[in-house]
Symmetry: C2
Subunit: 189 residues, 2 copies
DNA sequence: GTATAAAACTAACAATCGTTAGTTTTGTTT
DNA sequence: AAACAAAACTAACGATTGTTAGTTTTATAC
């Protein structure tokens, strides 16, 4: 029963519109119409269109950063860490699939300091991912494939989950996790 | 009489800009500046901004449609067909990585008839992909995993190749094909 | 019931958008 | 050098953009 703040409602509505058409193609009048108010009224709750975008993206990026740091600092082997990464992506996707569209497709429209912050978080995330895979190959827990290809193919699938999962209506999160681990790590042949 | 070459130069420049910022965020003045001319001069060669987008996307979508039809109608088993699909994506990516950004991220900005044509081609492509996987599972050439997850994870990786491949400077196409087959079909563990 | 704050409104701004019209420059052919 | 078309230009259009200012409505607290 606790009502979401009006600002959060706007951000949620914006996430949906940004997912459908992208940040640049969504006007403040589009967003206002989705909220059932006039464009100028939005500014009682938010500072700018840019603030909406950066709120959506930075919050999500920090979730991934926090999650990855927890995984990196855990005492598990490479395979277990990869499974935890898959869990992380599924969890975030379930919680905020709409926002992930902006994180994946509209990050380049962030402005100076937020853009830099985002790019650093993304770089660090990928570097951590790469190190986990590299470590797994060294310890022969993972096949000696091209590390870049493993990271790329796994990450591109996980990053695209937000597009696919909402269309799968009757799939349980636990089953999804299990099957993603199976397909991504163990192959299909 | 027809300025084919200059028109193609414009389309190529547009592909690069669309890749960097997306269709909606690129103005005709941006494109003109990239071409070293004024915005109005673009209209000696193209009819509209929309025409540029539809040319980029529809041409690529038809390449995939043609390629997929060839694969579907061949006398090969499921694994071989999946390998051919991987080849197809790598070939198209090598030939036109920039345009693929529009196909993946800006298709929703196509207008009525082109949008419908694109959506039908994409639907048919995915349906063909799904049938190949389903057939492979039935014949026990492919593990009995969730078919949707296999299609999704494979396709999301192939569709994202355009983002990743240009950054890999010293990787040969043949090696890439081999490794992609290895990672996507045989797993990493 | 009145005061106060939250949240909506109308009206408009300067800037920028895709695009058109009309004109001039450039390059090639005769 | 004259003719002609390709391709550039200047100038501007109507529409739309994000945003601001000032005002009115709505809901809550005393």
């Amino acid at each position: 029963m606790k009502p979401e703040s009006r600002k959060q409602e706007i951000i949620n509505a914006a996430s949906i519109l940004f997912k459908e058409k992208g940040y640049s193609a969504v006007t403040m009048r589009d967003l206002a119409k989705a909220m059932g108010i006039k464009a100028a009224s939005l500014y009682n709750h938010i500072q700018s269109k840019q603030e909406i975008l950066s709120t959506i993206i930075i919050e999500l990026a920090e979730e991934f950063t926090t999650g990855m740091n927890r995984i990196v600092n855990s005492n598990e082997n490479s395979i277990q860490k990869l499974e935890k990464i898959i869990d992380l992506h599924i969890d975030v996707t379930l919680r905020n699939a709409d926002g992930l569209a902006s994180l994946n497709s509209d990050w380049m429209h962030l402005e100076e300091e937020n853009l830099q912050h985002f790019e650093k978080m993304r770089h660090d995330y990928e570097e951590n991912f790469r190190n986990i895979v590299r470590n797994g190959v060294d310890k022969e827990e993972i096949k000696p494939c091209n590390i870049e290809i493993i990271v790329f193919s796994t990450l591109s699938t996980l990053r695209t989950l937000y597009l696919w999962y909402p269309k799968q209506k009757d799939i349980d999160a636990a089953i999804l996790k299990h099957d993603m681990v199976s397909v991504l790590l163990k192959g299909v042949v």
